[in-house]
């Protein structure tokens, strides 16, 4: 059942090994799912820390005073639509439409960049209102949680740009799509984390 790829040496057999049917196991995907499992622990700990500390009575701005819904809601829509674009890119590649895949991945990277820009605008507004990481406990846990998520978005955008560069040189095809699927899994996980962050930080206050 398991089809480990570590023993595969030549390009042709590597590409053939990359063609995995649903329901079969790929060692690279095993690795990325294990990594994502560790990320669940990482973000789970950050979210629990936020829940524990964000309402501690301290001086300075509180969650109720500082957080608005407009930018985070727009950012939620952006990330959800970017996930659609990512999965459309993978679908295009599996249909051997490399140009279509590049277009969709560029759309995804653009939406990820837009998310980061709006996050920057939100942070700027917070700083104008006196909410900084050092001002109180809420500031510390808020910036830690959302900052680590934004860092993951940035890594995803850079990963996508690198993948587009490789795709334009013919590195991916309908027979070698697993690297793009792995990148997609990472991006959807970043989206999944934002679903939790949006609910915990902005909706349940």
């Amino acid at each position: 059942m398991a089809t480990g790829t570590s023993s595969v040496t030549d390009t042709t057999s590597h590409a053939a090994a990359a063609v995995e049917h649903e329901g079969m196991i790929d060692t690279r995907k095993m690795g990325v799912w294990t990594f994502l499992g560790s990320e669940v622990i990482f973000f789970g700990a950050l979210i629990v820390t936020y829940l524990t500390l964000h309402n501690r009575p301290t001086s300075g701005p509180t969650a109720h005073e500082s957080l608005s819904l407009l930018i985070p809601t727009i950012n939620t829509m952006i990330l959800l639509i970017s996930s659609v674009a990512m999965v459309m890119g993978l679908a295009a590649l599996r249909d051997d439409n490399v140009k279509g895949m590049i277009r969709w991945i560029l759309v995804t990277a653009g939406l990820g960049t837009l998310f980061l820009i709006l996050k920057g605008v939100e942070y700027y507004e917070h700083s104008q209102e006196g909410l900084t990481p050092a001002v109180n406990v809420f500031g510390s846990v808020y910036y830690t949680l959302t900052g680590f998520h934004a860092l993951h978005v940035l890594i995803g955008v850079l990963w996508m740009l690198a993948a587009v560069g490789l795709a334009s040189r013919g590195r991916f095809s309908a027979r070698n799509y697993i690297p793009i699927e792995i990148m997609g899994l990472y991006w959807h996980f970043v989206d999944l984390v934002w679903v939790a962050v949006f609910m915990v930080v902005y909706l349940i206050r």
Partner: protein, 87 residues
């Protein structure tokens, strides 16, 4: 570049994306209603997470071992939250 004539069947990703956007609108709408909000927020959030995992991350179609690998840490995360709520 190798080519293939075989087209793969894919779920309707646009429809799933639309459902996610609608669920997000419901989440935000609930915040403005004079009701106990958290059960609805948890319900909508869980529905969004399940849609993303099942269709975008292909867990509905992929090998069960991936589901197990990803799901294993969740009890620990829930335990951390329970400890937080009880303390």
């Amino acid at each position: 570049m190798e080519s293939t004539t075989q087209k793969h069947s894919h779920p309707n990703y646009m429809m799933i994306g639309l459902m996610l956007v609608i669920l997000t609108a419901c989440e935000v709408g609930v915040v403005f209603l004079p009701i106990v909000q958290w059960p609805f927020l948890l319900l909508f959030g869980a529905a969004k997470a399940l849609l993303i995992m099942a269709f975008f991350m292909h867990l509905k179609f992929d090998a069960r071992i991936y589901v197990i690998l990803f799901a294993l840490p969740f009890p620990l995360a829930v335990l951390m939250m329970l400890i937080q709520f009880m303390s």
